[in-house]
Amino acid sequence: MSDKDSPDVSRRKFLGFAGAATATAVAGCGGNGGTDTDTDQPGGNGDTDEPTDTPTGDDTPTERPEPETRDGYLQRANRVAHEQAPWVFLNRQYSVYGKSEDIEWQARADEFIDAYAISPATDSGDDVVINQSQMDSGLDPQDHRATPTDNIVMQAYEKLLDRDREGAILTSLAEDYSRQEDGVVRFHIRDGISFHSGDDLTPEDVAYSVNRIVDPDTGIASPQQDQLAGVTGAEVVDGERAVDVMSDGLNPIVFSLFASYGPIVNKSWIQTNENAYINQNIDGTGPFVLETYEQGVEVVFNRNDNYWKEAADISSLTVTSASESSTRVNSLLSGEADIIVNVPPQEVSRIEENDGSSIAATPSTRVIFNAMRYDVEPFDSPEFRQAVNYAIDLESIVQNVLSTFGDQTAQPTLDGFFGFNGDLDPYPYDPEQAEALVEESGYAGVEVELHTPVGRYLNDVEIAQAVAGYLDDLENVTASVNQRDFQALAGEVTDGDIETSPHWYLLGWGNATFDASQTLIPLLKSDGVLTSWSNDEFDRVIEEAQSMPSEQ
């Protein structure tokens, strides 16, 4: 529902009268999902559904009170995006796992399979086998950016901070952290931790690890540099067991970044070994020690009995892979694997009906959307973009295409993230409204084509076909789907030139920082790396948000 452009004013007005209290309560949920700080104060700072003036006034975003907090600004940005509809808002993707009854384990929001959290439920649950869709791309924890690799290397490496299952920040190798001044934060490093090789963890190791990621002159050109966005370097604090991390500017989400990214390595081990060796061996501080590594085939870990926390419940962990989902399902059903990843909806019943296995599904940090380029016809019209949102029956897509393994979205930010706006509801299915908006946009009779990757996201092609189908059902629009190779599509979208992007494309975006900015900035801000949109008000509120610290 657009406050500004849509004729659906009655509902807005109703919310304006009745909804202030409810709306803020819902908004309150927005910040709860596990960021380092929860600045959302009930009734005050959020971007609520209550405009400044009376509900009879001209209901435009600009007349809302200026937010006072970073959370408020991010919520405002989400509202602007919802109203201007630069995307067709689709679903939050679920991670769907198959799990054997031999173990107890719950899936995490950030898609990482934390073997430390697995405990045996039966005797045969002591040696756990994970079967994922791909193996690692080498064991250097700082030279990759893929979940399958994380699921292997991060069983043995650790970060300064960590997250719980829902995404809330926990301490890890750093026992304490604080902001020193704008652009400088300090991590106090825990004492008594050693690497698997026996070397003690020192602040030098921590500073080196950060620099190896952010500074191309230290070791490698790490593809994780952008994960620690804004961080310029780290140095050991004299006389303290601490490290100062410097950022370019305020870097409001710096702790959030270090809770999701930045594995810590052993400086001397890295410096004395070749890259190829580092990619086939592990010297971490984590709960599992590498036993054998067969590239592309199998990785075996044993429990680290000298772990600085309590040792893991399971004694060994094997990670293997099968690119075919049916092969993974069969390995679970026959008892060879204990956890399998990416179970497609059509295989769910086989797992549920089998004794000894079950489905573990959890909302992931990935949002699936259709970007509509603001600079080309017909998507330059907000009315047309809203029309596409009204045209699709999102509820039915989630029910039928995704077998309920998805949540409907109304904004780029996911529920539980810092900056999520709890007041926004998904666009309702209203084809008549959609047709009216198409007429209003002046693009009646237009033909559009949706580019979609094939097999990159859960039922991506089917989602795209449903979206194009609904739009094509409108009297005044013709829509079709163009199935693309993901790498080719991604190449066009990410080359930094909006002109080369398709006019309308399906994409998924994972954001493990649990902070709205890491979705809004790259995808929607005018200067975002893969933006499809430009809106002055949106840019302004984002910049305001990024000039404030997240924590207070």
Partner: protein
């Protein structure tokens, strides 16, 4: 032409073919959508990071420089390093080769062991139930897609009855030998048993099409030979029927069969992609699929070059054997 000259000529032709494969594979990279940097760099990587990655991978050089570098390094046995993991491409590919060769050989043994007797029985008992059974089997075998057969075998024999593992490979044949040598006969027997459990289903899956093909070929070849006048002559001479069939007719039948066997063995080395994928068999096929999906060009190139070279070598050997069996070939 002497036999030696014949081999030399074939060998030189083989080298040209390998060079062609290498060049085409190299060019493929530049006409395939999606470049390597996109595969390596995160979606939101900045242009600077992309440039740095391109420079690190050597992709910032002009095309001909990249090609000549590649050829020169290939001649020295250097196939480059994986874009994704930084591991040497040659060591990665050659470490997968044994698994693929094992599977190809195992499925060939199944195929030869089954198909030639089946074909002979079928030909000698023409229009009898045994013939109908064999021809039906070969028709079904040829018509059944590999991936479907593999999945069905897994469902039935692994998931339902738990006889075989669903996927993977415990260790190689050579490792099983090593275990036998180091840990004694008992452990060795156990190792071979494990090896057999893992390889049986993929080998049967891969071998079925091949079995069916050779059965048909043997049957028709045998029928043709048995109708020849020399067979009638030997019969008239009073030679026992078994001698006529197996010493004379079958031997002549085997010449085209060997050709097809050789071609198929080459295909098996490269063509087991689907079967390997269904069974997560860690061979060249799986490596190839992974490399394609991640646009890991050095690995992709190395895999294709090894497959292409393997194909050429197998064909060379077949030609040599063929020429040896049938001297007319050399004369041509």
């Amino acid at each position: 032409m002497s036999y030696g000259r014949f081999l030399l000529k074939r060998g030189l032709q083989g080298i040209v073919v390998v060079w062609g494969v290498v060049s085409i594979v190299f060019v493929l990279r530049f006409i395939t959508p999606g470049n390597a940097v996109d595969a390596v760099a995160p979606l939101d990587a900045s242009p600077e990071l992309r440039e740095r990655i391109a420079a690190e991978l050597g992709l910032d050089q002009p095309l001909y420089v990249q090609y000549l570098d590649y050829l020169w390094e290939l001649l020295q046995g250097d196939m480059g390093y994986s874009y994704i993991s930084g591991i040497e491409a040659s060591s990665m590919v050659f470490s997968k080769l044994p698994a693929t060769i094992e599977l190809a050989v195992a499925s060939s043994i199944i195929a030869i062991g089954l198909s030639i007797p089946l074909g002979v029985i079928s030909a000698t008992r023409r229009h009898e139930p045994a013939d109908y059974a064999a021809t039906t089997f070969s028709l079904v075998g040829i018509s059944t897609p590999n991936f479907w057969l593999g999945i069905m075998l897994i469902l039935l024999l692994s998931v339902q009855f738990g006889i075989f593992p669903t996927s993977g490979r415990a260790f190689g044949f050579v490792e099983a030998f090593r275990i036998a040598a180091n840990q004694g006969v008992g452990a060795g027997a156990d190792a071979f048993y494990q090896w057999l459990r893992f390889i049986t289903l993929p080998a049967v899956t891969l071998g079925t099409y091949f079995t069916a093909l050779i059965t048909r070929l043997t049957r028709s070849g045998m029928l043709e030979e048995l109708g020849q006048s020399y067979v009638r002559a030997t019969r008239a001479k009073g030679l026992p029927e078994s001698l006529i069939r197996y010493k004379h007719a079958l031997r002549n039948t085997l010449i085209p069969v060997i050709t097809v066997l050789g071609l198929q063995l080459g295909t098996l080395i490269g063509g087991a992609v689907i079967t390997e994928s269904v069974f997560s068999w860690p061979g060249l096929g799986t490596t190839l699929i992974n490399a394609i999906n991640t646009r890991d060009w050095p690995i992709l190139q190395a895999t294709l070059v090894v497959i292409g070279t393997g194909f050429v070598i197998v064909n060379l050997v077949v030609d040599a054997v063929y020429a040896y069996l049938d001297p007319q070939v050399v004369a041509e």
